[in-house]
Amino acid sequence: MPTWLWIVIILVAPLLLGGIWTYNRLVRLRARVNNGWSQIDVQLRRRYDLIPNLVATVQGYATHERELFEHVTEARSRAIDANAVPDQAQAENQITRGIRQLFAVAENYPDLKANQNFLALQEELTGTESKIAFARQFYNDQVMLLNTLIGSFPSNVVAKAFGFGPREFFDIEDPVREPSQVEFPR
């Protein structure tokens, strides 16, 4: 083989390997972003499922809070029907606040607080709230990694060539990171 061919191979091979590595990293990150998005979706759906139960349970004891129940139920159906991300985010925030208010209201009803069904629901909802937060955290972390890779040189060349676009961050309100006001035994 002539010398010039060797020189070309030596110059091109690292570029090619780097390109393959970058491409694979982009694919992996995109998969993680998609996975993160579906995780958020799973947890939000779980919350939709729990809300009617919670409302029904609290209703049995706290009969004077009709307005609050309607508010939460209405936010839930708006979130389910939402087509655009901002609309959905707004409805989700309303649900988060509504659930917090429901738990605050429950404080005034000792019978309700002693109800096993209510305690189980409260744990499930607190757990789901934090899972939503963690899923969002994971999604946003992966979006940040992906967007950084797409935005910086030389990976942006590979990203452009294979049509990798930046993704949007998911912003909904942070659920409380402090323990819930109700500390109940296991």
Binding site: S130, K131, E183
Partner: protein, 302 residues
């Protein structure tokens, strides 16, 4: 983070190699004593290979069984399950299996060969003393070990060091009870050379478990700091783990029955078998975990 995973893999290979060499040396001496050094060497290395493979595929079950850990369902422990699932989502790993250990000392560990086959175990004492954020801090720390594959390093090393300790102790005891008379030939014509081999062999057998410990400690402490930091990154709330560590430090007087030297480094904090153990200067020098005060201080600085 990915570099950390790669470096952990390299360390695993090195540690396993080192432990196999150590085990081979112990086996050689033992074999020599009974008449055939090579036989002992081959035997010990074969044992090491089997144990390594065994610990790779079954070490987690062994460790879980030795602590009498019991798998719990989401119905039994909803809060624990919710926290483990939530933090697994945050870490981007599949949800590990969840175990509870019947011990009153607050402590926890994670085990398994990779994130797809991992388990998290916590003691009953931990569940009863920690609130939700503290529990999140603890689980975050353990899941960081899972993400970094520290559990693979830990489990394999625990098994290999366990084998070295086992063989050495077996030999020391049989020697103590006069079992060494069992060596073949039995003629005392060896003279000076045999005395030297005996001395070296004895020294090796005494030192082997200590060397094994040092291999383990070489990485254990630094990894704990790392898992603290990464766990805090998962929960985004360092005070949670700091507060949990403070409670664990305060409860250090509660002994742990299932604690032993071979698994000490797996735990969230170094367990003590009897009250006051771990207070000697040698024990401090050879500890698997950094001092709890130092860990709390670093978390508070975050």
């Amino acid at each position: 983070m990915y570099e950390q995973i790669a470096s952990n893999r390299r360390k695993t290979v090195l540690l396993i190699f080192g432990a196999i060499v150590l085990l081979g040396a112990v086996g050689y001496v033992l074999g020599l004593w009974y008449g055939n050094g090579l036989f002992g060497l081959v035997g010990a290395v074969a044992l090491a290979v089997v144990l390594s493979l065994g610990s790779f595929f079954g070490g987690d079950r062994l460790v879980l069984a030795s602590t009498r850990a019991r798998e719990v369902t989401p119905q039994e422990q909803p809060r624990l399950h919710n926290i483990v699932e939530g933090l697994s989502i945050a870490a981007g790993i599949p949800k590990p299996r969840v175990y509870v250990i019947p011990e009153q000392a607050p402590n926890a560990f994670a085990t398994g060969r990779n994130p797809e086959h991992s388990s998290v175990a916590v003691t009953e004492g931990l569940l009863s003393t920690m609130n939700r954020v503290e529990l999140e801090g603890v689980i975050g720390h353990e899941l960081s070990h899972v993400v970094d594959r520290d559990i693979l390093v830990g489990t394999v090393v625990a098994t290999l060091v366990g084998a070295v300790v086992l063989i050495s102790e077996f030999f020391m005891r049989s020697w103590w009870w006069g079992g060494v008379r069992g060596r073949r030939g039995g003629d005392r014509s060896g003279g000076g050379l045999e005395a030297i081999i005996f001395a070296v062999g004895l020294a090796l057998l005494v030192l082997a478990p200590i060397i094994g410990q040092i291999v383990r400690l070489a990485v254990s402490r630094q990894r704990e700091f790392l898992a603290d930091a990464q766990g805090a990154l998962l929960t985004r709330y360092p005070p949670g783990l700091a507060s949990a560590l403070r409670k664990i430090g305060a409860a250090s007087g509660i002994p742990m029955r299932s604690a032993n030297n071979a698994t000490a480094h797996l735990w969230l904090n170094q367990p003590s078998r009897i009250q006051g153990e771990g207070m000697g200067p040698l024990e401090k020098l050879f500890s698997t975990h950094p001092p709890i005060e130092e860990r709390i201080r670093r978390l508070e600085e975050m």
